[in-house]
């Protein structure tokens, strides 16, 4: 599903160069739930952004479904993000003056679905996250946990094959965080591949496997996680 070969990313300013990712090689199979862990500034969010094609990488290669994303046009990258990838952000990133329906419908608008199909998908996604009755609410009328569920609904409405979640429970209390995690697990069980950045060891352990990044490298600790149910991380 996802294959990274010696992937590297450097942030450059006039004064310094910061190597955010260094020769990362990683394979993620379809249907996996992978937690990306590591200290702050280690490069895990950068890795997630590169995986989501929100950022370009400088070296190596990134293959998604066997196709290299290197050199793809803006149109192709946009289509890839729209059709294959769903995003969940720590800060929800909902548009405040749009209803829940309009927020969830937003990525579907750019996919060319007709109105009936968009409506069907949005309502299905709202049902999945338990907010079907609140489709005309605005984000400010919801709690943090509910807002994150709306963000998840937006991410899954297009039925993506990969869900990229950047600290999805970072802004939530423990109860809401647990609900969101349960929702993600349920989505994963339906066959969606999930990569989730988290600081929380408990949540990381709930993922199928953990990948730890330290100073832009995949650390040795990520080679094997005794609590993981699936096979160890494949590191090239």
């Amino acid at each position: 599903m996802i294959q990274l070969n010696d992937l590297s990313k450097v942030f450059k300013t006039e004064l310094i160069e910061t190597h955010a990712l260094r020769q990362i090689s990683l394979t993620v199979n379809e249907g996996e739930f992978v937690a990306l862990t590591g200290p702050s500034g280690s490069g895990k969010s950068t890795l997630l952004n590169v995986l989501g094609t929100l950022e370009h990488f400088d070296g190596g290669d990134y293959l998604l479904d066997g196709q290299s994303v290197k050199g793809l046009s803006d149109k192709s990258l946009s289509a890839l993000r729209n059709e294959k990838i769903g995003f969940i952000f720590q800060g929800f990133n909902l548009i405040k003056d749009y209803s829940l329906f309009d927020n969830i419908e937003l990525p579907l608008r750019y996919r060319g679905f007709n109105a009936a199909e968009r409506k069907r998908r949005v309502e299905h996604a709202l049902e999945q996250v338990g907010l079907a009755a609140r489709r005309d609410y605005h984000p400010s009328q919801l709690s943090g946990g509910q807002q994150q569920r709306v963000a998840i609904a937006r991410a899954i409405a297009g039925q993506p094959r990969i869900l990229l979640a950047d600290e999805p429970t970072g802004n939530l209390d423990s109860l809401m965080a647990r609900q969101v995690m349960e929702l993600l697990e349920q989505i994963n069980q339906n066959g969606c591949t999930i990569l989730m950045v988290t600081h929380d060891p408990e949540q990381a352990r709930r993922a199928g496997r953990q990948v730890q990044i330290i100073d832009g490298h995949l650390s040795d600790a990520s080679m094997y996680d005794p609590l993981a149910q699936n096979s160890p991380v494949a590191v090239a």
Binding site: L54, D74, S78, A79, Y110
Partner: protein, 434 residues
């Protein structure tokens, strides 16, 4: 279409989030466009070609046929001709049509019991009406150029005098001389009235009545715009002195349809000048001019300097307004960059964001257009007040309005393009983290 309506909805939502900067942007652009449009109205009208299909076929011949000696290039041929010189210039079949003319003032009434009504008169020849596409509503034009006690009226004057337009055969008193109405012209307003450009009267309305040239001379009508003489003859007795003396007051137009005709007429003028010189009536150097109607205003320097200067000033003002509007627009878009980035992250391509920008442009165009029309209308009224002489040139037609629409569209596009590109090329992850 549904997607475009969605883009419009997104634009409206974006405006409602921060209405004040948007209103300011619209106001600034409407002001610049409105002021520019008000002046452009006059500029466009004054420089319009009233007969685009034949303005390059109508020519105003001028010759330096004067009794004094002038042998350098500073001597220009006089813009009006004597009766005798017109006869010489007419003595050829090369032109398709030809007409001598001048304007005068007279008093008109139905009978001696009525108070006289001052009217403007064009004293001319038969071909005038054909050359300048003057529409005839009732009756007919004179069959030849001989003197006749007949008059042609405009429809407006006929209705004013008789309460109806078909007054052919009725009698009028022109300076108390009875004349019969032989024709009534349909509504007609040649703008600008280029056949009278030599005297700078091309911004005036067309005359109310038309009198045969020979009759005008017989009735002793002098030109009210431009005349000169080189002797001490009393030309107030035009009927007896005007046709043979040196009184220059006639404008003369010829229609030359083909380049061959034009060249033949130039050769004819050259031969005429040489003959006159050989006869001792032409001591100056030969200086013939054959100016087309399209170039006649420029030749006589009749372009309005005020309007030209204002055109430049209003153009600069428009540019300043656009710069300010761009700045406001940039701030608006950068404050919306988060939403642009979110849409990009969720799968919108840059092209789809540009389509969103087109909806923004369309909305801005409509708002600016409405404002510009209001301000433009006010500007036109102000200019009519300041320069009433140009009042005839203050009307809008669909070409002008289409021009304003295209200008507003271009201005809105320019004002929106850079900010929207900046916003759509922003770093996605950075915006979404903030």
């Amino acid at each position: 279409m549904e997607q475009f309506l969605y883009y419009l909805k997104v634009s409206v939502k974006s405006i409602r989030r921060a209405p004040l900067p948007y209103v300011l942007t619209v106001l600034i652009m409407a002001l610049g466009l409105g002021v520019f449009f008000a002046n452009a109205t006059f500029y466009y009208r004054l420089n319009a070609d009233p007969l685009p299909h034949k303005s390059d076929k109508l020519f105003f011949p001028m010759m330096l046929l004067v009794p004094w000696e002038c042998n350098d290039n500073t001597c220009k041929p006089p813009p009006v001709l004597s009766y005798a010189n017109v006869q010489k210039l007419s003595n050829t079949d090369i032109p398709t049509a030809k007409a001598a003319m001048y304007s005068s003032d007279a008093y008109l009434r139905l009978d001696t019991k009525q108070p006289p009504l001052p009217v403007s008169v064009r004293i001319t020849q038969r071909d005038f009406f054909r050359m300048f596409d003057v529409p005839v509503l009732h009756g007919s034009i004179w069959p030849d150029d001989s003197a006749r006690n007949e008059i042609i009226l405009t429809k407006a004057l006929a209705e004013k005098l008789f309460g109806q337009s078909d007054v052919v055969g009725k009698t009028l008193l022109l300076d108390d001389k009875p004349l019969t109405v032989s024709g009534v012209l349909d509504n007609w307003q040649m703008l600008p009235r280029l056949y009278d450009a030599n005297s700078g009267n091309h911004v005036e309305p067309v005359e109310q009545i038309y009198l045969p040239l020979e009759t005008g001379y017989d009735m002793n009508y002098m030109s009210n715009s431009q005349s000169s003489t080189f002797d001490d003859t009393d030309y107030r007795q035009l009927s007896s002195q005007g046709r043979t003396g040196a009184l220059h007051q006639l404008q003369y137009w010829v229609q030359l349809d083909t380049p061959a005709q034009q060249q033949a007429y130039r050769d004819f003028m050259q031969n005429l000048a040489s003959t006159e010189k050989a006869a001792g009536r032409h001591p100056s150097i030969i200086n013939n001019q054959l100016t087309s109607m399209r170039n006649i205003v420029a030749y006589f320097g009749g372009e309005s300097g005020d309007i030209k200067a204002f055109a430049l000033v209003t153009l600069l003002f428009l540019l300043v307004c656009l710069l300010n509007a761009s700045h406001l627009s940039l701030n608006r878009y950068l404050s919306n960059q988060y939403e642009f980035s979110l849409r990009r992250a969720l799968g919108a391509s840059r092209w789809q964001l540009q389509q969103q920008m087109f909806a923004d442009v369309l909305l801005l165009t409509l708002c600016c257009l409405a404002g510009a029309l209001l301000i433009g209308f006010g500007g036109v009224q102000l200019m009519n007040y300041l320069w009433p002489v140009n009042r005839l040139f203050s009307t809008w037609d669909w070409q002008l309005l289409l021009g304003l629409l295209l200008l507003a569209l271009s201005a809105s596009y320019l004002v929106t393009l850079y900010p929207s590109l900046r916003a759509s090329f922003g770093a996605l992850n950075q915006q979404l983290k903030e």
